[in-house]
C-alpha cells in the first residue's frame, strides 16, 4: 500500500493545531528557515523590482496566509482561504468602507486566491480619483513587506476584494 505525503495533514509532523472559528481544521505546515544568504538575495530581488516595498521582517517560515490567519507561525495553502473567511465571519467590504486591519485578497488570472494582505492605511487620493492603500504582507516566502496594494510580483496575483471580520453593535 503506497503511502503518500500529504503536506499539512494531521500526520505531518510540521503541522500545528489550527482551526477556524467553527472548529474546522486548517491544514498547515511549518517551513524550515531558509539559509541567510538566500533570504538576503530574496530581499534584494524584491526591493530592486518593487521600489515601493519596504522590508518589515526577513524570514521564510510562514507565508502570507500564515501571517494573516496564524500569527506568523505556519504556512497555509491559498486553497483554504475561502473556508477561513467563511468560518471566521469575514464579509466583503466596499473600498469606501475599508479601514486599517481589514484584509485584501488577491487572485490569479484564473480567479483562484493567490495572496492575502492586511490593510495598514487607506486614504482617498482625490487628485487622481483613486484610493491610496498601503498593506502589509509576506511575499511568498521571501519576507514581509509594507507596500502599495497594487505593487506586487506577478506570482502573487492582482488585488481583488477587501474583507473584514469587524462586528458592529
Amino acid at each position: 500500500m503506497p503511502e503518500l505525503l500529504d503536506l499539512g495533514s494531521p500526520r505531518d509532523r510540521n503541522a500545528i493545531y489550527l482551526a477556524t472559528s467553527r472548529n474546522r481544521r486548517i491544514p498547515n505546515a511549518r517551513r524550515p528557515e531558509r539559509v541567510p544568504e538566500a533570504l538576503v538575495a530574496a530581499m534584494q530581488f524584491v526591493t530592486e523590482s518593487h521600489p515601493s516595498a519596504r522590508l518589515r521582517s526577513l524570514t521564510g517560515t510562514y507565508n502570507c496566509i500564515g501571517m494573516a490567519f496564524a500569527n506568523r507561525r505556519t504556512c497555509i495553502e491559498p486553497d483554504h482561504v475561502r473556508m477561513i473567511l467563511e468560518d471566521d465571519g469575514h464579509a466583503e467590504v466596499s473600498p469606501k468602507h475599508v479601514v486599517s486591519g481589514d484584509l485584501l485578497v488577491y487572485r490569479d488570472r484564473e480567479g483562484a486566491i493567490s495572496h492575502v494582505a492586511v490593510v495598514i492605511s487607506h486614504e482617498p487620493d482625490v487628485a487622481n480619483g483613486r484610493w491610496n492603500t498601503t498593506v502589509i504582507s509576506q511575499w511568498g516566502y521571501d519576507g514581509e513587506y509594507l507596500h502599495d496594494h497594487a505593487d506586487v510580483n506577478q506570482l502573487l496575483g492582482r488585488p481583488d476584494r477587501f474583507y473584514s471580520e469587524r462586528k458592529h453593535t
Binding site: 503518500l4 538575495a41 491559498p78
Partner: protein, 178 residues
C-alpha cells in the same frame, strides 16, 4: 547560455528568490514552468545526454551536506530539475522523486516528489489525465488502496465562468425540472 550556465543559474539564490514569491504550490509550479531558464533546460533535456547530466546533478544536490537548522538550499533547484525530468520522462522522474523524497529539509522538492509519485501510481493503474487522476485518487482513498492523497489532488473542481462544473449544472437543471 551554455547548459552549465543554465544549471548554475537555476541553482543560484536569485532563481530561488524569484520562485519563492509564490504563496502556494500551484503558483510555484506555474512560476517554474513559465520561467525561461526552466523552459530552456526542459528543451535541452529532450537530449538523453543532457537528461543524464541533470539526473547526476540532482543526485549530487540530494546528497550534499546541509546545515540542519535551515531549509535545504538546493530545494528550489531540485524541484525545478524534478519537474523538468517529469516533463521529458515521467518513469525516470518517478525514480528520481523517490530519492528526493528522502532528502532532508526540503519544501517544494518534497511536494513535487509526492505529486510525481502519485501520478506514477495512477499511471500504473492506467489513469491518464489529471481530472481522471483526481477522481481515481479519491476512489483509491475511499477503497483503502492508499492511505491518503496529496492535498492538491483532492481540491474541489474549479468553477467555470461562475456556472459551476458540469455536475453542478446537471444538478441545477434537475432541480429546475423538478
Amino acid at each position: 547560455m551554455t547548459l552549465q550556465d543554465v544549471m548554475e543559474t537555476i541553482e543560484g539564490h536569485r532563481f530561488a528568490a524569484e520562485v519563492n514569491l509564490a504563496a502556494g504550490f500551484e503558483a510555484f509550479s506555474g512560476g517554474i514552468q513559465n520561467h525561461l531558464l526552466f523552459r530552456d533546460l526542459a528543451d535541452r533535456m529532450k537530449d538523453q545526454s543532457v537528461l543524464k547530466i541533470a539526473l547526476r546533478r540532482l543526485s549530487e544536490l540530494a546528497r550534499k551536506p546541509i546545515r540542519m537548522q535551515y531549509e535545504n538550499p538546493s530545494d528550489s533547484a531540485m524541484a525545478a530539475y524534478l519537474m523538468a525530468v517529469q516533463r521529458v520522462d515521467p518513469e525516470v522522474a518517478a525514480v528520481a522523486a523517490e530519492a528526493i523524497s528522502k532528502t532532508p529539509n526540503c519544501w517544494w522538492a518534497s511536494q513535487v516528489s509526492s505529486r510525481i509519485a502519485a501520478s506514477a501510481s495512477l499511471r500504473r493503474l492506467g489513469v491518464p489525465s489529471a481530472p481522471l487522476a483526481r477522481s481515481a485518487m479519491r476512489n483509491m482513498v475511499a477503497g483503502g488502496e492508499i492511505d491518503r492523497a496529496p492535498h492538491a489532488m483532492l481540491k474541489p473542481a474549479k468553477q467555470v465562468n461562475g456556472r459551476g462544473c458540469h455536475h453542478t449544472r446537471k444538478r441545477r437543471a434537475g432541480k429546475r425540472a423538478a
